[in-house]
């Protein structure tokens, strides 16, 4: 039977958004987590189009708990910023904002930033919003290259985006951007909602699929493992068959868990630990 390594498991703070940063970090320490994908949302970490908060205190908090940031997610859509912003001035603010997320990654010694396609107007001409998104992501790739950071692009569900919402469109965007700093990731909620198998994504991107938001979908909700209907052992075997040893980020983003995220984490890792080949 294929197994997971402890070093692959990465926690995320999005479902702790109703709690303070200290609460989140303390919970991860208690859980024995070592790596996190930092969701730069309030009230945990301040990032905007003018910059980000001083990282000294944040770094100390990480160090005190033996935690490491391995990837960055700059919240998009929920705030004023997104990747396919329609108005030129707003798009420029968005570019500055996402650029700062790249700088932040470099400063925290994380090697990757998660990106997506954003969305265009519901009644907008398809080619216009596509090229706006592609060109914006292309600019960000150049920025990422300067900082030796990789961008990892996920697809979204089709209720979230009318741009990259399935594998076919992800392949097209990846091909058109065609930049060495653009890599791909599978968010298995988005891929599940699109009716795609993880193996489709491995076959499409090969070694350029380097990152994953790995949840138990139903397939729509970002559930903890055990709350959805995904065959976990089969997923792990599939990753093993494709020699995937990258991160498995627990992006527990469903509101069901926002009231007591720590309890959700305990249940989640209870399931995942059964497949670890080393101890947590």
């Amino acid at each position: 039977m294929a197994n997971l390594k402890r070093s692959q498991l990465v926690a995320m703070n999005q479902h702790y958004q109703r709690f303070s940063l200290d609460y989140f970090l303390d919970c991860q320490q208690k859980l024995g987590i070592k790596k996190i994908e930092l969701w730069c949302g309030a009230a945990h970490f301040w990032l905007d189009h003018e910059g980000f908060e001083n990282t000294a205190t944040f770094k100390r908090k990480l160090r005190d708990r033996d935690l490491q940031v391995v990837s960055i997610t700059a919240p998009s859509i929920a705030y004023q910023y997104q990747y396919a912003m329609q108005e030129p001035a707003h798009l420029e603010y968005s570019y500055q904002y996402f650029s700062h997320s790249i700088r932040l990654a470099a400063e925290l010694e994380a090697d990757r930033v998660v990106v997506n396609s954003g969305w265009g107007y519901r009644n907008e001409e398809a080619a216009a919003m596509w090229s706006r998104c592609r060109d914006h992501l292309g600019r960000l790739c150049h920025m990422a290259q300067q900082y030796d950071v990789l961008l990892v692009m996920e697809s979204l569900r089709d209720d979230e985006s009318n741009l990259v919402y399935n594998l076919e469109r992800a392949k097209r965007m990846y091909r058109e951007i065609n930049h060495p700093n653009l890599k791909m990731m599978a968010d298995n909620i988005a891929t599940g909602a699109a009716g795609e198998a993880l193996s489709d994504w491995f076959e499409a991107f090969g070694e350029d699929l380097i990152h994953m938001h790995f949840l138990d979908g139903d397939p729509w909700l970002h559930n903890i493992w055990g709350d959805g209907n995904t065959a976990l052992e089969e997923q792990i075997q599939m990753m093993s068959d494709h020699h995937y040893t990258g991160y498995l980020v627990q992006e527990v983003a469903d509101e069901h868990y926002f009231t007591d995220p720590y309890a959700a984490d305990i249940k989640n890792y209870r399931v995942l630990k059964r497949f670890l080949e080393d101890e947590m």
Partner: protein, 283 residues
């Protein structure tokens, strides 16, 4: 009674369509008053500044829309924030919203306690909110704007909870009394009110004419809904508002993203219900 003239349309649920589309829909539906949400992509409003409002004002004028209230999205800003970047940004954000409301000819800005950290002590959150509101009242006074404290969802609605404080009429009344500022009033949200188990009578009994806006939205424990799609007695609520003598604006803004695909639907449902409802509310 001219209820039609007191109904406010809102761009809140039109966020996935261009501003021009929204304005055309407002004209089609016959709205003249507006509860404007300064959200992207319709308008840039942030803690760092706002875009020049002249173009928007001209577009509203051309569409025959008068701004009544401005409801800034809370995004990651929170009046309950602790000292630091979030708190500083929150103050600047609402200052900018006040400036914008004034520039657009409105007289009210709606805000609430969303975004609170639930692991912090409730008394501490309350102190931070009151302190923030006190500072904002000064800014509002200069611009001749009234801040309306709107209740937020709490622990009764875990999926959409926004804050452990300032969700109930008594809490809102307590803050208004504590600050006792002529530029601070209240907005009533019928879905939050109902989720807490409170009534229109409770709200007007405690706050009376300090209520300067009613957000008359259907809903349930999962969010805000178009009239008839939730589980609230909307026509009864209308009658109760009449009974308590409320004569102010009624916003039909539907918070959340439930209707972004068909944003006119909630407006059409509400207008139809009111027009078919009979009695004094018939349009």
């Amino acid at each position: 009674m001219d209820v039609r003239g007191r109904l406010l349309g809102s761009n809140g649920q039109y966020s996935r369509y261009p501003m021009a589309y929204f304005l055309a829909e407002m004209e089609r539906l016959g709205f003249h008053g507006l509860d404007f949400v300064p959200q992207t992509p319709h308008f840039w409003c942030a803690h760092t500044g706002i875009e020049e409002p002249g173009r928007l004002k001209a577009a509203l004028d051309e569409a025959g829309l008068q701004l009544a209230t401005l409801t800034p999205p809370h995004y990651r800003y929170s009046i309950t924030a602790v000292k630091g970047c979030q708190r500083e940004a929150t103050f600047r954000y609402y200052q900018n919203a006040i400036t914008l409301a004034h520039a657009l000819g409105g007289d009210r800005v709606v805000l609430g306690a969303a975004g609170a950290c639930w692991d912090l002590d409730g008394a501490q959150l309350h102190r931070q909110a009151v302190s923030m509101l006190r500072s904002l009242c000064s800014a509002a006074e200069e611009a001749e704007i009234t801040l309306l404290l709107c209740p937020v969802m709490g622990s009764d609605t875990p999926l959409i909870a926004q804050s452990p404080i300032l969700g109930r009429a008594a809490e809102i009344a307590s803050v208004l009394e504590e600050l006792s500022h002529p530029r601070l009033g209240a907005a009533l949200d019928t879905n939050v009110m109902s989720a807490c188990g409170e009534t229109i009578g409770d709200w007007f009994g405690l706050l009376g004419d300090q209520i300067a806006l009613v957000c008359l939205t259907d809903g349930n424990y999962h969010g805000w809904r178009a009239w008839g799609d939730g589980c609230l007695p909307m026509m009864n609520y209308l009658e109760e508002l009449e009974a308590v003598g409320y004569l102010g604006d009624i916003s039909l803004r539907v918070p959340g993203d439930h209707y972004v695909e068909s944003p006119a639907y909630p407006d059409e449902r509400a207008l139809r219900a009111i027009s078919e409802g009979g009695g004094v509310w018939q349009t």
